[in-house]
Symmetry: C2
Subunit: 257 residues, 2 copies
């Protein structure tokens, strides 16, 4: 079955959605069949891929609530052959409240993906900027978690909380959950501040920090307006190249371990 | 009593916390007594002001849950005379789940601030990056809301959802809630993309967009490391000046209306 990876960080705006879209497209270039799953009621994954999430009748919400909808009704093809999307929209915000009362509320996404795992090589889950039930579902359904981290102080300070949450999920819900790595995003190599924060992350997390870093470039903000990943929007750009490099590094680490 | 303003945007990383800290400090410079209230379990307001929120025994959480703690026990002075903080930490995440079952759950913060409003000229509430119960509490307790908006596509797309939420809060919980304005943050005047998005915001929201815009500068990321607002960390910087200008514009609009 497909390996499932959650992208989580409760700090907002650190590049979770951009990483899921860009990495997904880069893995497809390497020949993988990839499913992207949006667990954020903002629906940014769909927006970034030119798919209007708010007009979809059936989304991940319906599958989580088990209202009889099927995976086939919810999943959407993207403009990239081999890259599918399980979209979210504002309905998902209701799931967070409704799931609280359900038994096995943390395993709702795991149930949804049980069959889908046989149709793809990899499933990437985009989490919202919080540590609530939607993110916990993403972490419980996943084999591993990758943490996009903007090199700034608030995000750095938030890491201990995130690590505690991963530990709690591992202890109570998903013993095999592995922290696969931390990817430094939006790095502005010209500033001392970014270099200092990057150094502190390297000291604290060592090899967990991917050697590939993603520099800040305006191309990332432009690509969603065109509704496509930077990999196709600006294929020769440094930003596209950085995520191709990250995809190779992630696959390289898998064969080693 | 003090006018209470919530700073809300479910899009993450758009400058909510930075705006609350910077604007708070600028209003104190103009002679106001200001209370900052953190409704985000990340506790960034405290972190940005050099106050360690995770070591506080009594925070806004205890007051929301009415466990017998007093406002005096929770409130913390900052290094700036006239600027106080009601801190939050991870305990607040529990409040979101616990409050769901309570009656009048949306008015918990309103009750907490009822007396405090007589000790300050202005109360600024920092909301988390979501439209859940903590943000709804902030909007219900407030007279007005200011929306920090990064000039990027995902944040722009999120505005319709935010406006719908404000409308719902106004209809059901707080009829006097006024959208005071939208402040463009992290503006990179060199890029066409930022100018294009800014133009779209101006078309969609007209006078609601403050004429003061906050440009992107690394000073904002450096100030939290020093545990102080940019107003004191780098008083002569463009970033500090921009928030002084915003404070004057906000007060100027109040005398007119
Ligand atoms: N390397 C980069 N350089 C410049 N801009 C970037 C980069 N990565 C992402 N961005 C931009 O930064 C903004 C935030 O990124 P994104 O929305 O992916 O973060 P997020 O963590 O998913 O946010 P949220 O917490 O709201 O879900 C977007 O406008 C995106 O286009
Ligand atoms: N005008 C600016 N120029 C450059 N950096 C900025 C600016 N405003 C804020 N920042 C930086 O951007 C990052 C995000 O800002 P901030 O944390 O205030 O946003 P937020 O909306 O409160 O995030 P969250 O959604 O996680 O609560 C911080 O590192 C901050 O220092
Ligand atoms: Mg996102
Ligand atoms: Mg914040």
């Amino acid at each position: 079955p497909a390996s499932t990876v959650a992208f989580a960080n409760q700090k907002g705006g650190v590049g979770k959605t951009t990483t899921v879209i860009s990495l997904g497209a880069a893995l497809v270039e390497l020949g993988e069949r990839v499913l992207l799953v949006d667990m954020d009621p903002q629906g940014s994954l769909g927006v970034g891929l030119g798919i209007e999430p708010h007009s979809r009748e059936v989304t991940v919400y319906n599958l989580l609530m088990q209202d009889g909808s099927t995976f086939e009704e919810a999943v959407v093809g993207t403009a990239i052959e081999g890259l599918d999307l399980l979209p979210a929209n504002i309905d998902l915000a209701a799931a967070e409240l409704l799931l609280v009362q359900e038994t096995a509320r943390e395993q709702a996404l795991q149930r949804v993906l049980r069959e889908a795992r046989y149709r793809y090589d990899r499933i990437l889950v985009d989490c919202p900027p919080s540590l609530g039930l939607l993110t916990i579902n993403g972490l419980t359904a996943a084999d591993g978690v990758i943490v996009p981290l903007e090199c700034e102080y608030f995000a750095l300070r938030g890491m201990s909380l995130l690590m505690q949450t991963l530990e709690r999920v591992r202890a109570r819900l998903n013993p095999d959950l592995e922290l696969q790595g931390i990817v430094a995003t939006m790095v502005d190599t010209r500033t001392l501040h970014a270099r200092e924060v990057l150094e502190r992350v390297r000291e604290a997390f060592g090899d967990l920090l991917y050697t590939t870093t993603i520099n800040r470039t305006i191309r990332f903000a432009e690509a969603p307006v065109a509704g496509e990943p930077i990999l196709t929007y600006s294929s020769e750009s440094r930003g596209a190249g950085a995520y191709r490099e990250l995809a190779r590094e992630i696959r390289g680490r898998e064969t080693v371990s």
